[in-house]
Amino acid sequence: METQLTGIPASTGVVIGPARLYHTQVPKIRPRTIEPDAVDLEVERLHRAVAVSREQIWGVLGRGDAQGIDHTVQDILKTHLVFLKDPMLIGRTEQRIREQRESAEYALAQVVGDAERIFSRQEDPVFRERFADIQDVARRVLRNLLGGMTDLGADLPQEQVILIAHDLSPSDTATLPKDRIIGFATEVGGPTSHTAILARSLRIPAVVGVAGLLEQVGDADTVILDGSHGMVVVGPSVETRQRYERTGRQIQADENRLRTYALLPTVTLDGHVLDVSANIELPDEAKDALQYGAGGIGLFRTEYLFMRARNLPSEEEQFQAYRSALEYMEGRPVVIRTLDLGGDKFAHTIPVPDEMNPFMGWRAIRFCLQNRGLFRTQLRAILRAGVYGRARMMFPMISGVRELREALAFLEEVKEELRKEKVKFEEHIPVGGMIELPSAVMVAEDLARYLDFFSIGSNDLIQYSLAVDRINEKIAHLYQPLHPGVLRMIRHVARVGNRQGIPVEICGEMAANPLCCLVLLGLGIERLSMSPVAIPRVKAIIRSIRMDQLSLFGERILSISTAEQVERYALRVARRILPFYPWDEEQAMPVGHGQPPREAETNMDLVVEASLRR
């Protein structure tokens, strides 16, 4: 029987393969009383399990970089070694065995339970998160106490599997045999969980946050994992399987066809040169960006450098990361966005946000301006790396002039510091601001006086101006990129940029959507930045149109009063100016959370509509 489960798409792609369950959770441990004369033996059993745990960790650390283990994961494992000597963890467990005559497993579980109570009271998520380390290390000791459970990897079959787990900790992923895993699905976690980031860096599909996953999937069950739509299909029917195989082939065929466009110049039929750049999260992705024909990096999100690590990345680590992205890009511009992280995003292992309204909370530039030490480190790293290519710096979530001036003054301070230290850095780094708050749109004219470029963050701009949290299913249909309110704001920013002579880029998902892309060009946006894989398609479109066909189109669109009408009108125009574009094959595009790919004969309007709302 086929079962479809939905979760959060965390890493794109579709795979079909056998499931492999990995039990990271420890079975419930029942109290067991130890005979008085067996107490010493029980204590010894505990210490043996601790010793085995230490050996396992040293084993992983010993293999170290040879196995490609991230140094941040190494740091975590080193912390685990400290916990294995901890008098509050191991010492108290021993004390409980001796005094209460509890079994080692039960005593340890109780101690961890006490710790959980202490940590869950902490208000600061950075501290609360540390509990995950204690749980992780305790789980390892428990597994060794219970015996028969080995590290993931040792007991994986040789064939390639889709790994199914409740959650994966950094120490789990450190020991993964990565060559044998073709996809991940986990019960918990969000798009920035450790599993999600790992999957993206391995370029294999992942779906996270799948409720009820472990009850529905059995070992060796055939599973379809659709990381683009957040779907897990267990025991697929022949038809479903064929549909997915067809979709997979079509994606491949589309990709091959589009790849031919990747390395051609981004120029319209009437000679307008536009720019299509890539959004990346890790320095290595710059290689993909080049392969897919990016003119530069329009958005280097630096959050991931921070989220991968349990500790803050040092200036040197950041410097190396920025430098390598710049070097990969060989003189093409690279826009490095300063940290767009908030209180909630630091605590990615904790599912519950700590602010009532984290998107409007302590994040991005607000956070950085109040954490000058951390901000200084990042600015220094970017300035220093700037020598190795065409670096640009960008501040996220600017709400107005005052905030921007504060950030710029601090940047000057940091530059002065570097000058005094006689450290080599890029003195004239262009500085841009993200336009993603409605207030920034309204004061764009004023902001432009301080900035070298604008970048419209359409995802947030849509969310903030329509007051729609698109994660919320009940209102997801209101998340409309083509809402006239949004389009008029974008038009305003484009005009301001034009008047003030500064470039305006757009770096949201909207830019990658073929229809939205035409609309944006019509509104006067000439620089688009998107995920690398989306670039060839957009280039193909740009190379097939004339800009003069779009100028009236943009004006007319601004007079339309509903998103639905804009969409219908845009589609009509799109079909006229691009009759040969395969609009009817659009189902190869991501459609939205939890929706399976549609059949080829799907009504075009439905597909476009759905893809616009993704």
Binding site: D86, M88, D124, R310
Partner: protein, 93 residues
């Protein structure tokens, strides 16, 4: 140094992020092999400074005042090491 080799010292956490994982681990490692008992007190909460779990539960953010108390042969050395780490902002920034 006062009665029976007890050393006591007050320090204020200076680094921006406080006694989070890395500094806490550094602190614990700095004292764990010394021959003494050592505690850290914040307000009226005291933990064993040789316990990472304990030190983390202090939630000592920037500006927190901590009292370090050590007893035993290496008490002075232990306190000195902690003070050095705290004043050196744990090598951050």
């Amino acid at each position: 140094m006062n009665e029976t080799g007890t050393v006591r010292k007050e320090v204020v956490i200076l680094n921006a992020l406080g006694l989070h994982a890395r500094p806490a681990a550094l602190l614990v490692q700095a004292v764990s092999n010394l021959n003494c008992k050592i505690w850290i007190t914040k307000d009226d909460y005291t933990v064993n400074a040789k316990s990472l779990m304990g030190v983390l539960t202090l939630v000592a953010a920037q500006g927190s005042a901590l009292v370090i108390t050590a007893k035993g042969e290496d008490a002075q050395r232990a306190v000195d090491r902690v003070v050095e780490l705290v004043e050196g902002k744990f090598g951050e920034e």
